[in-house]
């Protein structure tokens, strides 16, 4: 169905395009929009989520929106160059976490860009141990660290994969000051590298996801690749919205066991640390704010219609639409919390 629309648009547009150069009324998204994303993978969650949104938004507004998986640095560059509204971006918490962790190529998105509406959550961020690990729970891990045992955690440094690790260190230092030094990172790359680090016995705990690692938790315990969840970082309210059947052989109720409040990784001794990977829009700071309003309105209507939620849930995303204002407030607060966590553990 999309083919027909695209082919038709492409075929008829050439002449129409030439007739209508730049001076478009700037209060609206132009007819051809490029949505750059912070990931280079077209098989990953950012791409999937963005294409669901791009398709819905494009159809609703009767315009073309292309999703280009150019990666974070290039996406920010493209966004910076173009204030006309013909380039917009979708990314997730990595955009500010990268900055908080001081990764090359990441600037403060709240200061340099305009943060727009959130659209969905990937609730899958998780930590796992080998099936035959002595650690049955996060509690065991913290106890081990407090007893002077070194716990090696495989992560991809500098962002979403590290934030849970930072939270572990922070919790360890809250519960038993000094024990955080026994929780050490094993810096790896992709998910397959992290799994491999576990299988090579280079890591005791790995960062992973419900989607990518659930099947490994279903393997018989004597399988060398078998794993167990120990922690899912999502907010309980997020996971509760997941389909009741959960993922694969693990029901939602079983997943909830590994998340706060049943599994607690404390933030400050009172509250639990949680992390949801939220996808949101980013805009060029000089873009006409009317375009943001247009997108907010369009998304409000799309989410009211309810179809997009089905698409999102089918791909294990939790629908999470917040219009720009609310999204900005929410994300700023979130950023501040994580900023403190990171500051605390690096201050020591």
């Amino acid at each position: 169905m999309t083919i027909k629309r695209r082919t038709f648009l492409a075929a008829t547009s050439a002449i129409a395009i030439l007739a209508t150069p730049v001076a478009l009324s700037a209060q609206e998204l132009p007819g051809n929009v490029r949505m750059v994303i912070g990931s280079t993978s077209t098989g990953g969650d950012t791409y999937q989520n963005s294409s669901i949104v791009a398709e819905a938004l494009g159809e609703h507004l009767g315009i073309n929106i292309r999703v280009d998986a150019v990666g974070a640095t290039e996406a920010f560059k493209a966004l910076e160059r173009d204030s006309s509204g013909s380039t917009i971006m979708i990314f997730h918490d990595q955009s500010y976490l990268g900055h908080l962790y001081g990764v090359q190529g990441y600037e403060d998105p709240f200061a340099n860009y305009v943060v727009g509406p959130t659209v969905a959550i990937n609730p899958g961020n998780a930590y796992l141990v080998p099936a035959d690990s002595p650690y049955q729970s996060m509690e065991d891990i913290f106890t081990a660290a407090a007893n002077g045992e070194r716990v090696r955690v495989a992560i991809q440094p500098g962002g979403v994969s590290e934030i849970g690790f930072s939270a572990m260190k922070n919790a360890a230092s809250v519960m038993s000051p000094g024990s955080e030094d026994n929780i050490v990172p094993v810096n790896t790359g992709s998910q397959s590298d992290k799994n491999q680090a576990m299988w090579d016995d280079l890591a005791d705990v790995i960062n992973g996801s419900i989607q990518a690692n659930e099947q490994f938790t279903q393997l018989p315990e004597d399988d060398a690749t078998a794993m167990r969840f120990v922690w899912i970082t999502a907010r309980p309210g997020t996971l509760e919205q997941a389909p009741a059947e959960g993922m694969g052989g693990t029901s939602r109720d079983e997943l909830l066991q590994y998340a706060s409040p049943q599994t607690s990784v404390t933030l400050d001794g009172a509250e639990d640390f949680t992390f949801d990977k939220e996808f949101f829009f980013l805009f060029n700071p000089d873009m006409d704010p009317a375009i943001i309003d247009q997108i907010d309105t369009a998304l409000t209507e799309i989410f009211a219609a309810g179809e997009i939620q089905e698409r999102q849930k089918a791909s294990f995303f939790i629908p999470n639409f917040l219009p720009s204002e609310e999204a900005r407030a929410h994300l700023t607060e979130k950023r501040d919390t994580y900023g403190q966590v990171i500051e605390q553990i690096s201050a020591e």
């Binding site: 098989g43 990666g71 810096n187 790896t188 790359g189 397959s192 060398a224 089918a314």
Partner: protein, 498 residues
Amino acid sequence: MLEIITPLFLMLIVAGTFIGIMFGAIPGMTATMAVAVSLPLTFPLGLENGLALLLGLYVGGIAGGLVPAVLLGIPGTPSSLTTTFDGYPMSKKGEGEKALRIGIVASLVGGLFSLAVLYFFAPPLAGFAIKFSYVEKFLIIFFALTVLAALSSDMLLGIFSGVLGVFISLVGTYDISDGGNGKLRLVPPGTEYWLDSGFSLLPVLIGIFGLTAILAQAELGMPKELDAKDIHVGRRSTFSFSIFGGQITNLLRSSSIGTFVGMLPGVGGSAASLLSYSYAKTFSKTPEKFGKGEPAGVVASESGNNGLTGGALVPLLSLGIPGDSTTAILIGAFTLQGIQVGPLFITNNPVTWDAMIFAMLIANIAMFAMMYFAIRYFALLVTVPKHILFPLILMMCVIGSYTINYGIMFDVWTLLIFGLFGWLAVKLRLELAPFIIGFILGPSAEVYFVKSLESFGDYTIFFTKSWIAAALWVLIIGSLAMSIVLAIRAGKNGTQDG
């Protein structure tokens, strides 16, 4: 199972294979791109039909790279790089048609072999593949790098070119998603804006092979008389299946290497054909003929890179881990339909699994049928006058470079930079094939080398890690010894043509 095999299913495989071959055959277009652009189409098609299309594209795309590699000396896709080493010299000798036929048969054997391995042995092999830690993966890459010595016509300059390729490949950030720390290095001050992600492989490859070749022709003033003769497809030498008489071992060995290397996540597609080529040369009775139009070289390269197709699916379907960049995109097709890929995929989705195997089988057969009988038409490609062919190739290279990373202009400039570099390098007697091999393998060599030392803290780990490491050292030393013996022999005969 049977209810899946509908006319639409079959049609999608055939159409996918056909489009894949086109993508593979046009310099600058790759199998990865074919799969990526078609991914959104698979959502309305449904899982099995969508996979039929994508697998057809994958098989066709890898195989199609053979055509320009043989006829123009430009690899249509990075994994057909080694096909140019002997395929193009064969074309120049007027044996282009023969080289194509050999390549197509080898592709079919490689494709079917890896498919059989996938079907019968996927889970146990995936279990074996995960025994390859950083150390073993580094040694595999190192083994592939030893082909540098064997390929060079002047060993010192060849190795220098290869090491330079590695060096240039390290420019930019030490990529976090590969396990690096995300910091910049080797970037001249003032160029950070463009160079922070380094140079992309595809523009470098087509710059060095496509643009360099065209510049060299321009320098010679587009010699007209070469039009017909230079790239003559040739009836002069005939093809018969008896050529494969002495190649059975080579075929099976290269197919196995391709399949196995495909299984190792992160080692990557191009290493498959490099390794099988290197191995074929090392163990050949006439290694000196390699690089000068030796059919065995085409056999090794093509059966190796098509062996990749089944191999790369092994870790994907039995661990949920993609074996190469194309299968990484296939994950998207599954998740779009809400299907989990992981160790239980085959058990949980027997119908889809059978459908995939069947689709790959048909795709391989369709690929063979289309390419084998279309050789005459492929040959028409080289009868197109250069003043039309070259500008169009340049334009396609631009499109390929621009779209490979979804719209980055610097990739287009990279094409030009490396086109000029290639021209200059030839003048300086540097060698392009070793350079590009170094460039392709450099990033993985770095990650696995540094991570091995980071994890184990001792250089001896490369020798003591496992029996696999020890076995790899035997191969590495064998390959190096062979290159040295050959160089000495060539030196004695005074045939050094560097």
